[in-house]
Symmetry: C2
Subunit: 220 residues, 2 copies
DNA sequence: AAGATATGCTAACGCCGTTAGATGTCCGAA
DNA sequence: TTCGGACATCTAACGGCGTTAGCATATCTT
């Protein structure tokens, strides 16, 4: 155990501690409570120390996102273990909604917050050189849609897998994000968002599929 | 023309000028550029002056929202002049999407930004005492849905007008808000959001309506 | 002309993200 | 064993933010 090794270990430990503190603040009081100064307070260091581990606040939040995105992707992947592509889509929708409603703060951070410019540039570079891992959650959905199209499960005029995937993503995202932002608006008699989202997914799949009447409705 | 009258007029003129400056900043550089100090600069006053016209920044933004909400509501109302309730829903969806895509900044402010607590409390009070105008855009949609249900246009298991209205709102909101936030993510081959949204509305209506195959598809 | 009222300003407070520069502390080599 | 450099950490500050207090000044009313 050389000294540089130990130092590196301590470095990583502090980095993890910082991320955890940020996560705690975030979960307890929402994104607006996540402040470089408060994170520093929580780990009992002064603010500049954070900049030895993260280029800036946006990089710190990105690191947080990536951890949660991995979790999210894993949940979706478990849901995608179905042979029938239509049922696969339905189950992915269900798990998507459940993740969003169980972790609304994370969902807001992941999908309802504008990307920092830097991240976009980084990703564009990855895509350019083909390094993109291609195993994104979106790809799971798009592939299921493509399978539906290839095996003739959809009405013939729905033939663009990317577009239909975006249709379905939009469906679940719309219901949960409306709920997360506007649930407290008392002008509207909100229904339980889980049921609402399922109803939309079911209706959309009914509309997409050949032979109308739904195969297996989302029950729970 | 008494002097107090003139002063009041000047007061309102300055108020309008402030709002316009805020709107200009907002349209030119997005919400994060709308700063009390920058607004003050634009109208050639010092920042404290703004507080003689608006309680705080959130009240100023709310005033801006309300103007745009009126515009939005008017656009939707024009679209709702259709006898057939299903076609009415389809047209409202179309105009909703067009508004969102033509004014993405406004859409972000109106529907993709968390409400300040104060506003929620104010609305709750209105609802409590029954002062709510009931002519909200959401009500337009819900009433069209209720008409569909009452006249037996929907499958019998879709019987909750509130829920179905929330399903349809979620559909259009999902597609346009995903696009507005994530269009620049190069990992995804984005399709034109207008067509995507129309496809979702059509599919959902196909799924909701009795007698499957769409009546009149959204063409343009 | 004098007093009241409204208008606008300067200056400041306490937050924020971030950076520069000083200080100390430990490690490896002479 | 002591010296020099690398590293960790701190204090202090900059410029921005929303917001408020207190003062000057201009304008109306009597």
């Amino acid at each position: 155990m050389t000294a540089p090794e130990r130092r590196e270990r301590e470095r990583q430990a502090l980095r993890a501690k910082i991320l955890q503190a940020a996560r705690d603040l975030f979960l307890a009081h929402g994104i607006e409570a996540v402040t470089m100064r408060k994170i520093a307070d929580a780990v009992e260091y002064t603010p500049p120390v954070l900049y030895a581990h993260f280029a800036d606040k946006s990089a710190l939040l990105t690191a947080l996102c990536e951890e949660d995105l991995t979790l999210f992707h894993a949940a979706l992947q478990r849901a995608a273990r179905r042979a029938d592509p239509v049922e696969r889509i339905r189950r992915m929708g269900k798990h998507y909604v459940d993740f969003a409603l169980e972790h609304p703060h994370h969902y807001r951070l992941l999908f309802m917050t504008p990307f920092p410019e830097e991240q976009i540039a980084a990703k564009a570079a990855q895509v350019e050189e083909g390094t993109t891992q291609g195993q994104s959650s979106y790809a799971l959905l798009r592939d299921a849609v493509a399978e539906c199209i290839a095996t003739g499960r959809f009405e013939k005029h729905h033939k663009d897998a990317e577009r239909v995937a975006q249709v379905l993503w939009g469906a679940v995202h719309g219901v949960v994000s409306l709920w997360i932002l506007h649930a407290r608006n008392p002008e509207i008699e909100w229904r339980a968002p889980r049921a609402t989202a399922f109803e939309l997914v079911d209706a959309a799949l009914d509309g997409l599929c050949i032979g109308a009447a739904a195969t297996s409705r989302t029950s729970s």
